[in-house]
Symmetry: C2
Subunit: 307 residues, 2 copies
């Protein structure tokens, strides 16, 4: 195979083909401030460091990103596009950071949260980021588990606020609905169902072996209830990610939260199969011990999660 630099795509770690997070962050600062030196000051590095870093990013990407002039720097057209893409990477990294900080076990936590897996995975990092923007001094700790575990932690006073996604609210807890979630049927683009014209009905769904989460998971509970306990598993897997991977690889149709498959749907790695006559909607709820209305930081977080 020919080895001309970067001719066509070659598989391998993406980390060696993209600038690191620090460089992307620097680029965002340059875009915002219109100056390499200014961006350097904001990030606490020197101007030559910023200059060299942007230059090596341009060399790596093979594209000029900023127009330098003696009175400032502006993004080129390509630079503007790259900056927008970089912003999405940095935002994902910020969500990672917000989540990871909450996982650290700390005695000084001011707000202890317990959440179901789906919520912890997809929604909480964003909420924590918003909370941090409002109240930077609130140290949050997070524990993820199923509904029963969330209830247990709340009742044992090991958590101040919980989030669950089941059909029922565990006893001993008060709750408020904060969002709605729909389970959807998905299949790989090559699957026969992806070319159906007629929506699927409940009987067909119940008759077909599906890739599912294990019995006892929130997702499975909702599906079993909607089908009258009849869902037939093709495979049972213990994480949303594993189910997605199996469905993408074409192992069969799967039922998943729409929160989990947004990306896959928009990139056509999976297609949603319309369903009629069966409602796979479920409520996402914030929960707390009966009578103990959230106050302080818990109340702040709760108010962020609702409109």
């Amino acid at each position: 195979m020919s080895e001309q630099a970067g001719e066509t795509y070659r598989a391998g770690s993406v980390a060696h083909r993209v600038p690191d997070l620090g460089a992307m962050e620097l680029l965002l600062a340059v875009a915002r401030l219109g100056s390499l030196g200014g961006a350097a000051r904001e990030l606490g590095i020197t101007q030559p460091a910023a200059s060299s870093r942007i230059r090596s990013m341009e060399r790596q990407l093979g594209v000029a990103l900023v127009d330098r002039s003696p009175r400032g720097s502006r993004l080129t057209d390509a630079g503007a596009l790259v900056t927008d893409w970089a912003r999405r990477v940095v935002e994902a990294a910020e969500a990672f950071d917000a989540g990871a900080q909450a996982l650290r076990v700390r005695r000084d936590s001011r707000l202890r949260v317990a959440a179901s897996m789906t919520i912890a995975e997809y929604l909480l990092p964003g909420w924590l980021l918003a909370l941090r923007a409002q109240r930077p001094d609130t140290a949050v700790s997070l524990h993820a588990g199923n509904s029963a575990a969330v209830a247990e932690r709340l009742l044992a006073d090991e958590a101040d606020l919980g989030f669950v996604e089941g059909l029922t609210v565990p006893t001993g807890l008060d709750s408020v609905v904060i969002a709605h979630d729909n389970l959807i049927v998905v299949a790989a683009p090559g699957h026969a169902w992806s070319r159906r014209r007629r929506p699927l009905d409940g009987a067909e769904l119940a008759a077909t072996p599906l890739i599912l989460r294990e019995k006892g998971s929130g997702t499975r509970q909702v599906l079993d209830a909607a089908l009258g306990g009849l869902a037939r598993p093709l495979i049972e897997l213990s994480s949303t990610t594993a189910v997605k991977a199996a469905a993408v690889s074409g192992a069969g149709p799967a039922v998943l939260s729409e929160l989990a498959v947004g990306e896959e749907l928009s990139m056509r790695r999976l297609v949603g199969i319309p369903l009629s006559g069966v409602s796979l909607a479920r409520d996402l709820r914030a929960v707390w011990p009966t009578g103990h209305r959230p106050v302080g930081p818990a109340r702040d977080l709760l108010s962020l999660t609702r409109g």
Copy 2:
């Protein structure tokens, strides 16, 4: 201010608080393969390197991520959560990479794409990633510009396939609708409109000064047409990002593509204002010179962008 390690959040570059992309990628490989050594082999590094890198990631995050045993490594509960968050960062980086590769000017491009800004920003990286998965040898080049520029490049045979988002199809081009986009009215959560009970109507919208893209942009065209050329600018800004930033900071209400504000809405940095009686829908179209139906790589990409 006290300096206990990592007690509460302190502003500063996120890059120093999160593992780098290589470490996240390594973690994903460990999760998938169930072994540090296996992950190391996949990424082309040695086992001690992988071991040390995972260890330093655990030290940085203050959380155990993998359970090591003499016969493999499995993620801890916290590790599974961290891995899910890391996956989103890596996916954003892959989209960045796919886009950036297309920006490089190459003589050997097999597919030359011209796209409007909004599409290039939000949709194309995903399509390019999907195309790469299907046809790894297709070298793509990308040029972003407004509708007129896209048409010009196609007609001058400088591009094989274009994507536009205006109301009308430039003359000389055939087109097919590939998706729909809605403009929505957004405001910061504190804005008076965010507490409205009644939907906004066209007259109110036309009477209120708005944060807008400059005249001539696709977004502005749609809005002006819907309101009968009456949109009143509060400020005119030349990029979607700038408009978003102004709206988030509370400068006033803005009108933006729903593609551009998904993240901001779900994190409540902006709220959508319901609108009645005015349709701000627009079609996203693939375009090509009349008569020259896309073939080869252009056809592959086109078929990815439709259901």
